[in-house]
Symmetry: C2
Subunit: 259 residues, 2 copies
């Protein structure tokens, strides 16, 4: 199938998936863009509902094209200008898949008492969430917990920034993070609430398993959530800034669980 | 002075500073946007060439307005639509200063044999460079070294992402990073080249002082630069991704020097 009109309904549908979190939720679908990300999606065992490609990209990434198209229900060649309409990037690679949302978010995974997890509360910047997912996977974390008010994990920036980790990492989205952490405490699972002050330096405690909690970019963790954590932890800091980007802080905190 | 036309020459000049790295270099000036960043600039002892604000922002941030305008040569009120023309952000706060480039980049600082430094080779993403500067300051690094082919440190995204660290952190921009590292070696300063493989795990070595080198997002450090480093170091990783975002990797590596 070849689509050359931006007014085509499938194109309008896909462009809307890229743009609107609300529409993604209604349709229970999302767009994943880029050669690597599309490949990650099908390699993780998902079938794509649609696979859009440009002729140039097909020629350039032949092997990936074959693999992705063999795992896609509908394969559409589109012109460059149509691709730009569905794309979220400035210089599109020319591959985009639409997937149904991942089942794992509907069926929460079980937290292992010896496992290592990161929990995000109200993280709003999709680049931060994507980077945290990527770091969590690279450092071998067992899963990610997100409060419902975090930015949409299916937004194009999160999917791209995660380098495909969104397809592979176990992910629990929870309505009430503080309650959830309390339930884990009852099961003997430790939780570490990160905060800039009045806390133990992260390098002075043993935190090889449990849940590391990271809060909102501007406000940190809520007092409510901090109050139910086993420990309050901090990264000792200098300098006038005395603050870290949320994803940089998360990298250091997860690394401390790992090392 | 009140400017209400987007066609005003000062406005066109400032918009171009926000957009063009080449123009910034020609003019030896850059734009710094946001209340916090403008404030950081004047607090670091710089005088602003221009300070643009909207009436709403003046009312909202009165104290900052007074401080910034007292350290600015020309203070201009602009309408919301004019501000949007000079702004690089989607939801501007309504404060923007134009500064002359910082002298420190012209006069390289001296590397201290007991100090801790981070060196960036060909880092291209302004968000990564901004985050690395912010992290370096928060973790008390003594300075940052950048190869000339890194993205422009005066781009609006770097200035914003650094949370003002760009005004405060000692910064050396060098033409040939490998040669520079070799010179430091002769002075007895250790260098740690980070690379994904064939290297010592960063947590197994002592690296409390010296220079930590971080390479390009896609390709890492060049072989040329790696070959002159005292040690090759890596962050042990798991997972299919087996890669970290450059700024997340930098955070972990700088943290290891610090802890």
């Amino acid at each position: 199938m070849v689509i050359s009109s931006k007014e085509n309904n499938i194109i309008k549908y896909t462009a809307k998936l890229s743009k609107s979190s609300k529409f993604r939720k209604e349709q229970k679908s999302f767009a994943a863009e880029g050669v690597r990300i599309c490949r990650d999606g099908v390699d993780s065992g998902k079938f794509a509902e649609y696979f859009f490609y440009t002729a140039d990209a097909k020629e350039k990434y032949g092997e990936d094209f074959n693999k992705i198209s063999s795992c896609s229900k509908i394969v559409c060649e589109v012109s460059q200008s149509v691709f730009e309409k569905i794309s979220d990037t400035k210089t599109p690679q020319g591959f985009l898949c639409v997937f149904n949302m991942l089942d794992k978010i509907k069926k929460p995974y079980t937290i292992n008492i010896r496992g290592r997890y990161v929990a995000l509360e109200n993280l709003q910047d999709p680049s931060n969430v994507g980077t945290v997912l990527r770091t969590a996977e690279a450092l071998g974390m067992d899963g990610v917990i997100m409060s419902r008010d975090c930015c949409d994990v299916y937004s194009p920036k999160v999917v791209r920034g995660s380098m495909g980790a969104v397809f592979r990492l176990p992910l629990n989205v929870v309505d009430n993070l503080a309650e959830y952490i309390q339930e884990l405490s009852l099961q003997g699972i430790a939780s570490y609430g990160s905060t800039p002050r009045n806390a133990e330096p992260i390098n002075s405690i043993d935190c090889t398993c449990g849940v590391m909690l990271i809060g909102n970019e501007g406000n940190g963790l809520t007092e409510n959530t901090l109050s139910v954590c086993t420990k309050r932890v901090m990264i000792p800091m200098f300098g006038r800034a005395e603050s870290l980007n949320a994803s940089a802080a998360a990298a250091i905190l997860m690394w401390e669980m790992f090392r």
